[in-house]
């Protein structure tokens, strides 16, 4: 039955994806100004502008333009970036892994720090660890990612310089060539242990800056969901049967409380894909987000559309993964219709 609902989810995601492509296409074409002129800059000649307009079908009706865009998309062609002068897909293939690597490490930090913080708060409800945990979570949520970036750089890059503050690797380490673009994996595959550790070292500050808001949210949600669960008869039963309090907190109350939290963690991951733009700027991280900011500032039409589409796709895939995870850890959903 999981497969049927999975297919359903994928179908819905595809519809949303088409919608997003229309939306971003509309934004790109309906906005005031001639995209060709904007793209080529004020110094371009009228001939150059006309040539670009013709090449991009900019003189055709909007639906025709959209159709051309879809046709190209179906060939895996997102157009050409005027900034790098390469196909947008090539750029994305180069920059996306860095961003994904950063976001995934952040997501891991969010889970590894946020959930225990929430469990501690709930377990010590109303006492000192709870107050402290809630304060940390609240400040984490209320501070933009770039502020975290700047503060972490200042503290652990300048005043107490124990972490690098820029880039993905030391210059002395050769940049790994594939296969994934994830430096951690590539360096491990290449058997370069020192390189792996250096890549990890470079990841700490940006990943932490990016994780802060999500981990605060995760801690807050875990706390409130756990407190709801603590009211349930099965927790009283666990106490009445002498289950150890800490085991109740980390296992018997945590698992039911985690199911609703997980859905929100998916949303937090999506927010990370957005906040990566800020963190990559602060740490000079050569990822898709930094590329995105560049192309947006340069009004690089195709590149902007491509970047947004890829990020939306990553988000939708992430949501489907979360749905599947929820149905795996929630036996009620997993077993619904599965018997009989």
């Amino acid at each position: 039955m999981i497969w049927k609902s999975l297919l359903h989810r994928i179908g819905a995601a595809l519809i949303v994806m088409v919608g997003i492509s229309m939306l971003i296409f509309a934004i790109a074409r309906v906005m005031p100004g001639d995209p060709a002129r904007i793209a080529l800059g004020p110094n371009a000649t009228a001939e150059q502008v006309a040539a670009l307009r013709a090449e991009r079908h900019l003189d055709a009706a909007l639906p025709v333009q959209y159709w051309e865009f879809l046709k190209a998309l179906s060939r895996g062609d997102l157009g050409k970036s005027l900034y790098t002068n390469r196909p947008v897909t090539t750029d994305i293939a180069q920059f996306l892994p860095a961003t994904l690597e950063l976001c995934i490490i952040s997501a891991i930090l969010m889970v590894l720090i946020g959930l225990p913080l929430g469990i501690l708060s709930a377990h010590f409800r109303g006492r000192f660890p709870d107050h402290l945990g809630r304060l940390i979570a609240l400040i984490a949520v209320c501070t933009p990612a770039f502020v975290w970036g700047v503060i972490l750089q200042l503290c652990f890059g300048y005043f107490w310089p124990i972490f690098p503050i820029e880039g993905r690797l030391l210059d002395s380490i050769p940049v790994p060539q594939g296969p994934t673009g994830f430096y951690l994996i590539d360096l491990l595959v290449a058997g370069n242990g020192a390189g792996f550790l250096d890549a990890l070292h470079h990841l700490v500050l940006p990943a932490l800056a990016l994780a802060m808001s999500g981990l605060g949210q995760a801690a807050r949600l875990t706390r409130s969901n756990m407190i709801d669960v603590y009211e349930k008869p099965y927790v009283e039963m666990a106490r009445a049967y002498g289950f150890r309090p800490w085991r109740i907190a980390t296992r018997y109350a945590f698992r039911p409380a985690f199911i609703p939290t997980l859905t929100i963690l998916g949303l937090e991951f999506a927010a990370m894909l957005g906040n990566a733009f800020l963190v990559e700027k602060v740490f000079g991280w050569p990822g898709l987000s930094r590329y995105g900011v560049e192309v947006i500032i340069r009004k690089d039409l195709d590149a902007i559309v491509g970047t947004v589409l890829i990020i939306a796709a990553a988000f939708l895939i992430m949501n489907i993964i979360v749905d599947v995870l929820v149905s795996i850890i929630n036996p009620r959903i997993r077993l619904a219709g599965g018997r009989g």
Binding site: I27, M31, K299
Partner: protein, 290 residues
């Protein structure tokens, strides 16, 4: 008509909610923070030591100075008083937040109410459109819009508004779906009340606690979002004092002139925190009431 059966916020209940609010010192602290900031921002012309530093020109004899007697938080690269510029930054942030929410909230609320109550195709179409907006990380969508517009205050507000309404639509949709099953709605339907009446006079009043709580929290988050946009250089342009661009500008002079980014960064944290505390307090107060 005011239906006796509908669980609208009772008149008398204000005091109980206020009691619940007051009982949490953090909520009270949030209210104080917000009140002080709003007051300072509104009367910035009279309360800041160097209102003339709003423009591009400062005191060239005192450029890039750390905190001192005259300049409590220090000065920037143009010799402008950071404290003054932060207060004006607050002013700008608050204006943006108010305008964005004043547009995004009604749009989102109406979409949510109509989709939630009407159901069927209306529901499907409206909520799929909402989903499309929700499927792009908010900052990315706002950035993409800004990518095609000139970076001005008005356009910045437009971009943020465009990505903000769907969250209200989603929230109110869920509330409406739940409320539509309640007895008082069925009763109104039975006596033949019009759709408009049911949506705006019956269901909407029960959405107010959710809307007010979310709006309060969102003042903080809109400010956070706006400062993120301007940090990326996609928001208000200099010399207008803006907290996000102040942090970005100051980051270039780290770590020696740390005050350039640290104070505006803390300023953002404080205002977002303040509105969050008030929002959380409001939520608790509304819950205590019901």
């Amino acid at each position: 008509m005011s239906e006796p059966g509908s669980p609208v916020i009772a008149k008398r209940s204000g005091s109980k909610a206020w009691q619940a609010y007051r009982s949490n010192p953090l909520s009270v602290a949030g209210l104080v923070i917000v009140a002080v900031i709003v007051f300072m921002a509104v009367f910035a012309d009279y309360l800041t030591p160097f209102p003339e530093h709003v423009g591009p020109i400062g005191d060239f004899a005192a450029m890039n100075m750390g905190p001192s007697e005259t300049y409590r938080l220090g000065t920037d690269t143009m010799g402008r008083d950071l404290f003054t510029r932060i207060i004006y930054g607050y002013q700008l942030s608050l204006i943006m937040a108010v305008v964005v929410l004043a547009i995004a909230t009604p749009v989102g609320v109406i979409v949510g109410l109509v989709a939630g109550y009407k159901g069927g195709w209306t529901d499907y179409v409206l909520m799929r459109i909402t989903d499309i907006f929700l499927a792009v990380p908010p900052l990315v969508l706002a950035m993409a819009i800004m990518g095609f517009l000139e970076p001005t205050l008005l356009n910045g507000m437009l971009a943020i508004t465009a990505m903000w309404w769907p969250w209200y639509a989603r929230l109110i949709y869920n509330v409406t779906r739940a409320e539509a099953q309640e007895g008082y709605v069925l009763a109104a339907e039975t006596v033949g009340a019009s759709t408009m009446h049911i949506i705006f006079r019956e269901i909407l009043p029960n959405c107010w606690p959710s809307i007010l709580t979310k709006m309060t929290l969102d003042v903080g988050f809109v400010i956070l979002m706006a400062s993120s946009l301007s940090f990326l250089g996609l928001g208000v342009q200099p010399p207008t004092p803006d907290l996000g661009s102040m942090v970005a500008e100051g980051a270039k002079y780290m770590p020696d002139a740390w005050w350039l980014s640290v104070w505006p960064a803390i300023a953002i944290l404080i205002i977002v925190l303040g509105f969050n505390l008030v929002g959380d307090g409001l939520r608790e107060a509304f819950e205590a009431e019901s």
